[in-house]
């Protein structure tokens, strides 16, 4: 009979230790690779180390397109992750979906955390807030559009670098001087839809699409062929014909041309800081996006890029508590400041910005506060954010039409009219597919 007692004791002990170690696992699908992938891993390690109830498991699922497609397929099969990192152009799709996501505000409140939307930088949180004022997703890695300048190249062309060019006329002048001194690629741009149309619009407090760029309703339509937009694209088109502006491809490919020193001035994400600071063999500086000084209301604020974290529906209550705990951890100003300094992504709360400023980081690393300064301003209805459906396709249309302008095949007006026509068809499709 003794062995039965021993057996029973062993069994109970085994089960007891098993349940004590049972943590709630939270699946987090993300698209951060390379140095940023290590950053995500470190975040998870830090959070998991600080408490024992929940374990965040970050899984790299490919780039933003690929992980979103994977999540859609997983959701349809009933296997979605708890947290999904979705890029900013996917926001409209996520917001329009029904029964697919749980708003972050609800997650936090249900778990009993204090959640104050006003503590977030308005240009960041506004992008991810529903028309009814509820914050839908957690802003994780937000960047914005800035101007990257190769100081060595400018000096070699005889341009003074005490003050970076602030307006488009000044940029054009600098480009002309660069070309005159024999420079092969004075100005280029990455993410042309984002930098030259979207951020350009909000920076000039001009609408890219009606209804506050779609923030107020799905019946928004593109108006990116306004006189100001036509003027700007025409200017860039003329610069292209004169060799002042050289097109280096879609998406972020022009980033490599700037890092290698080939192009002197480039417009790209502030998050390019990681790559530029590591690879550039020249003195560089970060400037604000240029503006047209004669436009009323410019400069207003730039638009964010990057991604946010969405919580998928259909999970257990205990798991949502873990998600809330993770979001609470991410909102801590200390954690935010560390993340901001490491990656160049914006601090998403005012407290984190203040903390970073007080630590003297911006003084020691000039240029790192440019992106924040562009965003801290109050937003207007026309500059709060962009929320348009089928936006991946619309960005591609923008790429296609603008390429025709750079190649000299279409006038700026025709190209922008075409973007409006083709884009509005897609917006209509989106509205029809998502009406309740």
């Amino acid at each position: 009979m003794n062995y039965k007692k021993t057996l029973a004791t062993v069994a109970v002990a085994a089960f007891a230790s098993f349940s004590a170690q049972a943590q709630t696992e939270i699946q987090w699908w993300h698209s951060m690779s390379g140095a940023l992938g290590e950053w995500v891993g470190d975040i998870a390690k830090d959070f998991n180390g600080k408490q024992k109830d929940y374990k965040i498991v970050p899984i790299f699922k490919g780039n933003y397109d690929e992980s979103m497609t994977a999540a859609v397929a997983a959701f349809r099969a009933g296997n979605a992750p708890h947290i999904l990192q979705v890029f900013e152009v996917g926001t409209a799709t996520m917001m329009a979906s029904k029964g697919v996501v749980v708003p972050v505000e609800q997650i936090m409140k249900d778990a009993g955390y204090k959640f104050d939307p006003k503590s977030y930088v308005p240009a960041v949180s506004g992008y991810y807030t529903a028309p009814n004022g509820q914050m839908m997703s957690f802003p994780f890695n937000s960047s914005t559009t800035v101007m990257w300048v190769n100081l060595d190249a400018l000096r070699a062309a005889g341009i003074s670098t005490d003050k970076l060019p602030q307006t488009w006329p000044e940029v054009t002048l600098a480009a002309a001087k660069l070309k005159a001194s024999g420079h092969k690629c004075p100005v280029t741009t990455a993410w042309q839809g984002w930098t030259q149309l979207e951020s350009f619009s909000t920076w000039h407090n001009t609408e890219l699409a009606t209804k506050g760029n779609g923030m107020r309703g799905m019946d928004a339509r593109l108006v990116v062929n306004s006189p100001l937009h036509v003027r700007h694209i025409e200017n860039l088109g003329n610069m292209a014909q004169q060799g002042l502006f050289v097109y280096k491809g879609r998406a972020g490919s022009a980033g490599a041309n700037f890092e290698s020193g080939e192009c002197a001035i480039s417009f790209n994400s502030s998050a390019a800081y990681a790559g530029v600071s590591k690879n550039a063999k020249f003195k560089f500086a970060v400037g604000t996006l240029p503006y047209y000084p004669d436009v009323a209301g410019a400069p207003q604020n730039t638009i964010i890029g990057g991604a946010s974290l969405w919580t998928m529906a259909g999970k257990k209550a205990e798991e949502y508590k873990g998600v809330a705990a993770f979001f609470n951890y991410l909102s801590d100003p200390v954690v935010q400041s560390v993340n901001h300094k490491r990656t160049g992504y914006l601090p998403v709360t005012m407290a984190a910005f203040k903390m970073t400023e007080d630590s003297g980081f911006y003084k020691q690393n000039p240029g790192t506060d440019v992106s924040v300064n562009q965003m801290i301003r109050k937003t207007t209805d026309k500059s709060r954010g962009i929320r348009l459906g089928n936006y991946v396709q619309i960005r591609t249309i923008e790429d296609e039409e603008l390429e025709q302008v750079w190649a000299g095949k279409k006038s700026a007006k025709d190209a922008l009219d075409s973007i409006v026509k083709r884009g509005n068809e897609l917006l209509e499709k989106f509205e029809k597919a998502n009406k309740s």
């Binding site: 979103m68 497609t69 859609v72 799709t93 329009a96 979906s97 089928n390 390429e403 190649a407 095949k409």
Partner: protein, 303 residues
């Protein structure tokens, strides 16, 4: 096993099964695979082409022929028919003629033939996307070897803004990949021609060129026909990896072949109804092309 009386091998090289269930059991695994991996997705695409759904599948509605109608209204979609036609003709034409040329000479080599054959077959092992990236680097306006040499010859290579350059790039990358496959078949074809025929013609005084045109080429027509069908399907379907890695359909929409738009709309833009409609149309195009080829071109083939 012949003693079991299950199957009889008669002189016609046809296998006759006495058992009524055994043949079905033997085909079952293959039939299952074809059903699951071909018929089921095809049926699903057909169904989805008549539906309109949101990204997550929570709101699916039947909308009849609306997906097809909106494709018809899209000028760029109609333009991509022309782009695909030009692209496929170039890829199939160049692929077959170049590999025929190479196979002809490889056949005539006696010393070190295996070196040439191995080198010529190597590109087949490269995945389409890798091939695309390879050629993208070679032709990169900033750092590419090929664009450097072209500039020396006076050609300002810029596949980002020049449609002809972009088309040339994807044609070269696609043909390069396919040459190995075609080469293999043509070489086998050349070697299956009885040497006695060639020798007889040589004795009669026919030159190399005449021997090629009158004996070898006609006897190669089965291979050529087969490769024509395969290359057409390849140009239509399997080249999207190359387009995605190099031009992404640009500049503008000048290298957007039909299959690239199917991939982009389905996987990037997540418009499943539109993408399904396009793949249904693409399927019908390729089926009709294949039927045409079998009906009309096969008559010219000498078996």
């Amino acid at each position: 096993m012949l003693s079991l009386g299950l199957l009889i091998l008669n002189g016609d090289k046809k296998v006759i099964f006495k058992s009524s269930w055994l043949p079905w059991v033997l085909i079952a695994p293959q039939a299952f695979i074809i059903l699951v991996f071909f018929f089921w997705p095809a049926a699903q695409a057909l169904i989805q082409s008549f539906q309109q759904s949101d990204v997550f599948g929570t709101n699916v509605e039947w909308n009849g022929l609306e997906n097809f109608a909106s494709l018809w209204r899209d000028d760029t979609y109609l333009a991509s028919f022309k782009t695909t036609a030009i692209f496929s003709i170039l890829v199939a034409g160049l692929g077959i003629s170049l590999s025929l040329f190479l196979a002809f000479f490889a056949d005539r080599i006696t010393r070190g033939a295996w070196v040439y054959r191995t080198l010529l077959i190597l590109p087949y092992a490269v995945a389409p996307v890798v091939a695309g990236v390879l050629w993208l680097f070679l032709f990169s306006p900033s750092v590419g070897l090929a664009s450097y040499m072209l500039e020396k010859l006076g050609v300002q290579w810029n596949a980002l803004l020049n449609s002809n350059h972009a088309m040339a790039l994807i044609v070269i990358a696609s043909v390069w990949k396919q040459i190995s496959y075609n080469f293999l078949f043509f070489l086998a074809g050349f070697q299956s021609i009885p040497k006695s025929l060639i020798e007889a013609a040589a004795i009669d005084g026919a030159s190399v060129w005449k021997r090629f045109w009158t004996i070898q080429l006609p006897l190669l027509t089965p291979t050529t026909f087969f490769l024509l069908v395969v290359n057409t399907v390849y140009a239509f379907f399997e080249t999207f990896g190359i387009v995605d890695a190099t031009t992404k359909g640009g500049p503008g929409k000048d290298t957007a072949i039909l299959v690239y738009k199917v991939y982009f709309d389905g996987f990037k833009a997540m418009d499943l109804g539109g993408s399904a409609a396009q793949s249904v149309i693409l399927m019908f195009i390729v089926i009709s092309l294949t039927v045409i080829q079998f009906k009309y071109v096969e008559r010219k083939v000498n078996y």
